[in-house]
């Protein structure tokens, strides 16, 4: 805003101030100039407002209003027989004692603790490799890793669903051929691993590109200095490159954590094939969806969604606070 104000008197404004200066005394001139400036300022404000309005309207209509409506919904209780009444925070109280919701949160947290480090580790490794090697092969490698991200999540999950299939899946054909018995990739014990595999497949490339872009932005002289000091490639990578892109790493980590807490698409797609494992409350988001659209519990579903939103918000705030030095947000 201050920048805008300095650039303030736009060409359109000048003509009005020029004659005033020519005729009037210095005092009035100064006074007039002030008014001229003010009107420029207001006009400028109007302009800004005008430019912001389209966004503002859409923002209000599609984000603020629905959010407010959902919040209002979450403060009411409507039962099948009892009707609809205002119940303050009763839904929220229920949320944080609801074993289905808590189990879902626990599940995505456990999932994230294992899957996130693996995925980001792979992404970092990939980024360091394609940053170091600048052959044609590196380009192919980059494209290949990034490709899954271009596949819509639903299609990706469907495809993996087939690959995991006990009848058609290659994993089971292989284990059958080796005589190791049946591996139920869609069973209770392996489901989170199978889901983790889909997510890793889909998002490693994306995160790799983000980290790669950060690496590309680093000044090359530093590497030369490191080389002169006798650092090898691995040492340069670990001691120079990684610390220097830590803010990008914090960024990817944060987005990934948020994505994990909101886990929805993949379990939703695999639900029909593995309904004995993926229950309606498998993840908090899935639970909210089923509450609203299967049981028509819109109020409680809204409360669950806001609660999940709170968990995500607090989680990311704490994370950003803890990593404020690394992320450069201090």
């Amino acid at each position: 805003m201050s920048l805008l104000r300095q650039q303030g008197p736009a060409p359109a404004v000048t003509p009005s101030t020029v004659p005033a200066e020519g005729v009037g005394t210095p005092a009035t001139g100064r006074g007039r100039r002030r008014t001229g400036r003010q009107s420029a300022h207001t006009r400028h404000q109007a302009m800004g407002l005008m430019l912001v309005t389209p966004f503002g309207l859409l923002f209000a209509a599609f984000l603020v209003a629905p959010l407010a409506y959902a919040f209002w919904l979450s403060l009411r209780t409507s039962t099948l027989v009892g009707g609809d009444h205002f119940s303050w925070f009763a839904n929220y109280q229920q949320t944080f004692t609801d074993p289905h919701f808590l189990a879902g949160v626990r599940r995505v947290v456990v999932f994230g603790l294992v899957q996130v480090p693996i995925m980001l580790g792979l992404a970092l490794l990939g980024a360091l490799i394609i940053d170091e090697v600048s052959s044609k092969l590196a380009k192919v490698f980059r494209m290949t890793l990034f490709m899954p991200y271009a596949v819509p999540a639903v299609i990706g999950a469907l495809m993996w669903g087939f690959l995991y299939s006990p009848t058609f899946g290659p994993v089971n054909s292989l284990s059958h051929a080796l005589g190791t018995g049946k591996i139920d990739l869609l069973g209770h014990s392996l489901m989170l691993t199978s889901l983790g595999n889909i997510v890793t497949w889909q998002w490693t490339g994306y995160n790799m590109i983000v980290l790669y872009a950060a690496l590309q932005g680093l000044p090359r002289e530093v590497y030369e200095a490191a080389k002169l000091d006798g650092a090898g490639q691995i040492q340069t990578a670990l001691r120079i490159k990684v610390p220097m892109i830590s803010s990008a790493m914090v960024l990817t980590l944060m987005f990934t954590i948020i994505g994990t807490l909101q886990f929805f698409t993949e379990p939703r797609v695999l639900e029909p094939t593995a309904s004995s494992v993926i229950t309606p409350d498998y993840t908090p988001n899935l639970y909210a969806y089923n509450l609203a659209f299967q049981y028509s519990e819109f109020n409680y579903s809204a409360a669950i969604s806001f609660s999940l939103g709170a968990v995500v918000f607090i989680g990311s705030y704490l994370f950003l606070f803890a990593t404020r030095k690394r992320s450069g947000l201090k």
């Binding site: 959902a70 998002w203 929805f264 698409t265 004995s276 299967q294």
Partner: protein, 451 residues
Amino acid sequence: MSSTRRPTSRSVRRTAVAATSAALAGVLLAACGSGGDSGSGTTGSGPVHIKVWAWYPQFKQVVAEFNKTHKDVQVDWVQAGVGQDEYTKLKTALKAGQGAPDVVMLEFQELPTIQLTKGLLDMGKYGANDDKGNYVDWAWKQASDGDHVYAIPVDGGPMAMMYRADLFKKYNLKVPTTWAEYKEEAAKLHKADPNAYMTDFGSDETAAGWRQGLTWQAGSRPYTYSASKLPDIGVKLNDDNAKKVYEYWGDLVKNKLVDTQSYATTDFYNGLSSGKYATYIAAGWGPGYLSSVAAKTSGKWRVAPLPQWTAGGNAQGDWGGSSFSVTSQTKHPKEATEVARELFGTSQAAWKIGIDQAYLFPLVNPILNGAYFQDKKYDFFGGQQINKVFVPAANGIGTFDWSPFQDFAYNTDTSEVGKALQGQTDWSSVNDNVQDQVTSYASKQGFKVSK
């Protein structure tokens, strides 16, 4: 709501709006619905257009037949998704206050749920009671509450056992008449070919009605409910009959005598057509389903009555079946009722399409007991007159009440069965767990529950 897992800066907000999407989706759906629903509005003269949601593809010809024979009323057909997909849309439209069709195809178990939200029109006020005598008694009772008529029955799902005659011959199996025999033959088959199973135990939500049908046959009547006696409801999902059924199937699962694929998956279809499953326990609409997903096994299947719990018994159960309801949003209750009553009704022409192409199992007496249906030979079943099995089954089905929270009950059952399948809980505790959760849910929803 689709790709929530996308790490853009919008993600944070997106979480918070998850619930909002619910509201928004409602608005959008309503918008989509009302965009095309000009059908229900008429200006001046000309026929009244009634919008109908139904899901079988052959319905197109039934609509054409109706429109040909009616001048003042015309039907606009919309395929709004099969089963649960359609219900989700309907519930959202009803909640939103607009966007619902005039007439909607509903399965019997959904009727009380939709009726409780005041989503259904009482067709009794528009003369639907005249049809009472036309329909099979148990079906009419499920569709009505005294003189209040909330739906007109169309097709039913009396259960029977379809089996592969060729495999039975190959492995020298006897067609079982009791569940005890069924288990013996299952063991014999699996021993002869470890890759073959007697059948697939439907463990998923789409098979919840299948499990309910089997407990129905065993004599379990879990709900005592009538909309006119609200808020009273009786819930008994864990009586001895229900437990008997679950423990029986649990035992088959534990001994690996049956497969445990989810229904409606490619693996399941493949099992039906590859000879992996020797029997398919299904309903009156099952032959149509089977002949489309396992077309290449044509001629190899036969139909036999459902095995019994006591030798020589005649206990039957039902799985699925559909009806036409008029929604409370209709602007033309009289015409919509006419459509619901006469789309199939007793029309020979409509039923010929329904029977020959959609494999519907009629619940309207003149057609059900008519020679055309009973004597029809099916090539897929080697020329067998399969309705000689299904019609007595339909007539042996007793009355049965559904709950007005059937989705919750089915989902809970599916979750608990899933846990037992994965070895997390014991099969004998499934029914008790379901009972606990469903009764506590019902109480929370304001019902006065008697257990």
